[in-house]
């Protein structure tokens, strides 16, 4: 990439870089920039429009930039010039002097090693205690929170708008997001959320102990993915699978939401259901395991 076609006699002489064509182009560049800036002002005054603003900003800023770069490349001395690298390290005399200065204090510290250790202990301890406000004060300890949801024995299933779910609400092949009654608007709805599906009952493989959990073909699973916590909102009603959109964990509905593909390590916890005397769907009890992604304090 050469810089100049004309070799000046001396690279630094003032006239060496007079190049009228380039200067004119730079002038055009700056002029376009000014015009674009004026345009920006007009656009703003008229109420603004993002695409016009973007295009005009491009010309306004680009005009300045291209002009300055061209100035710096074609109208000023380029060299190449040479400069020595000074030795980074100082010479040995300097270093000795530095050691001497450092040593003046260090020797005193070394002589009083016991005090030094106490100093270390006091500063270190105070440093550690700072962790208390900066970390501990930030929030509550988890306690049992991660093991609990608001589903209790007899909790009625409600939709997001608070409507109670009855036994005829869902078609076969239908899907609904439900919450324990009273908690559909609470912050805990992120944890309590349950996906209610109604597959055709012919091919269900019920896990031992869960025979009564799915009345009239209704199955309820925690909607919080056991992988990373996203809502498992995709229901493929023919292949009878629940798919999590975040990392494509696949759960087989007919075998109790077993994880069959993708990164999810555990099936979705199932909520045991029953239908009460008024045809309303209720939970028999809460979940039999913590919902959602894993954490240190839980086992299998």
């Amino acid at each position: 990439m050469t810089t100049s076609k004309v070799r000046p006699t001396s690279p630094d002489h003032e006239d060496a870089y007079d190049r009228p064509v380039i200067e004119r182009l730079i002038a055009v560049s700056f002029t376009l920039s000014v015009l674009a800036t004026v345009g920006l002002g007009v656009t703003y005054w008229l109420g603004g429009q993002p695409q016009v603003e973007g295009a005009l900003l491009f010309v306004a800023l680009g005009g300045i930039g291209v002009g300055i770069v061209a100035w710096g490349k074609y109208l000023v001395p380029q060299g190449p010039y040479v400069q020595e690298r000074h030795e980074l390290r100082s010479d040995d005399v300097e270093r000795e002097a530095m050691h001497a200065s450092l040593g003046r204090g260090l020797r005193q510290l070394e002589r009083r090693s016991f005090l030094l250790r106490l100093l270390g202990a006091s500063v270190g301890a105070f440093g550690l205690i700072n962790l208390f406000p900066f970390i501990r004060s930030l929030g509550p300890v988890p306690g049992k929170s991660l093991f609990l949801t608001d589903w209790k024995p007899g909790s009625r299933l409600v939709t997001a708008s608070g409507r109670v779910v009855t036994e005829n609400d869902l078609e076969v092949g239908g899907l609904l997001t439900v919450f324990p009654e009273g908690y559909e608007n609470s912050p805990m709805n992120a944890i309590d959320q349950v996906v209610l599906v109604r597959p055709a009952t012919t091919d269900l493989v019920t896990r031992p102990g869960r025979e009564t959990w799915g009345p009239k073909g209704y199955l309820a699973f925690s909607k919080v993915c056991t992988h990373a916590g996203c809502p498992v909102g995709l229901y493929q009603q023919l292949t009878q699978q629940l798919l999590c959109p975040c990392h494509q964990s696949l759960f087989d509905v007919l075998t109790g939401a077993t994880n069959v593909f993708g990164p999810a390590p555990r099936p979705l916890p199932q909520l045991p259901l029953y239908i009460d005397g008024e045809g309303v769907l209720r939970a028999q009890a809460g979940f039999d395991e913590p919902v959602g992604p894993g954490f240190w304090e839980r086992g299998a």
Binding site: M1, P50, Q51, G54, V69, K73, P80, A160, S161, G162, R163, T166, N168, D169, L170, E171, V172, G173, G174, L175, L176, T177, E184, N185, S186, P187, N189, A190, V197, P231, G233, L234, Y235, Q236, Q237, L238, T239, Q241, L243, P245, Q248, L250, F261
Partner: protein, 247 residues
């Protein structure tokens, strides 16, 4: 704290019968006069797989009792007749006209009644905001929040909603075609379906105030543009400014 829209927008679960002029959706079965034409068309295009009486075979499902809306959806979106039986039926230019679709629907419903009629959606009273709320709750998980569609598991995919007409959207919601879940009146009222249809219609030409929409796919395309176009052009500019090593 993170809640559904305020109760002012809540709709009753089952809509009470209203005068037809303001009903959000009216389900109409095709007129019986179309049955003879339907029978002819059915024997030409559908019988081989679905059986003489639409009872199904190992090749194709039983169509009896599914309703006119189901038949109309599959034909008017061009999914039927099936081009390739080994993959999920894809939307393509329909082989049959709307009238012919109605005729076949009329014939099949005459074989066995049941299922919803062809919906006619009244968009004038539809609430677009309610539609957005319901769409993001029930539809976005498969079709994406902008309705562009995406691949699901095991060779299933949720199609793009851009070509869908209001009738087809309502039909799909009510009949749950293929792997799509079925949202009956117990899950979504007619007004709610109309609201969703209104929002899907909006998605055909959403507010792209920020500029080129990049297909509304999201951060994937945005990252591509940032790296290839922005960084790329800046590196080209850097090449102009800095030059090469040979000096």
């Amino acid at each position: 704290m993170l809640v559904a829209p305020s109760t002012a927008l809540a709709q009753p679960a089952t809509s009470t019968p209203t005068p037809s002029s303001s009903a959000p959706i009216v389900y109409v079965n095709p007129p019986k006069s179309l049955i003879p034409e339907g029978r002819t068309l059915f024997s030409e295009d559908c019988e081989t797989c679905h059986g003489v009486d639409a009872e199904g075979s190992y090749r194709a499902p039983n169509l009896q009792g599914l309703g006119a809306a189901t038949i109309d959806f599959w034909i008017t979106t061009g999914r039927m007749p099936l081009a390739d039986p080994t993959v999920q039926a894809a939307e393509k230019p329909p082989r049959l006209t709307n009238q012919q679709a109605e005729a076949i629907a009329a014939y099949v419903t005459s074989l066995a009644p049941g299922g919803p009629g062809i919906p006619s959606v009244n968009l004038k009273t539809a609430n677009i905001s309610r539609g957005e709320f319901l769409f993001s709750e029930d539809c976005a998980a498969c079709h994406t929040i902008t309705g562009v569609g995406d691949a699901l598991a095991d060779n299933v995919f949720a199609p793009s909603l851009y070509p869908a007409t209001p009738t087809q959207v309502a039909e799909a919601i009510r009949t749950g075609p293929g792997n799509m879940p079925r949202f009956g009146p117990g899950t979504l009222s007619n007004q709610e379906v109309a609201d969703i249809v209104r929002y899907v219609e909006y998605l055909h030409a959403p507010n792209d105030r920020g500029g080129a929409g990049l297909g509304h796919v999201g951060p994937v395309t945005e990252g591509f543009v940032a790296i290839v176009f922005a960084l790329g052009s800046l590196m080209v500019a850097g090449y102009w400014i800095g030059g090469r090593a040979t000096r």
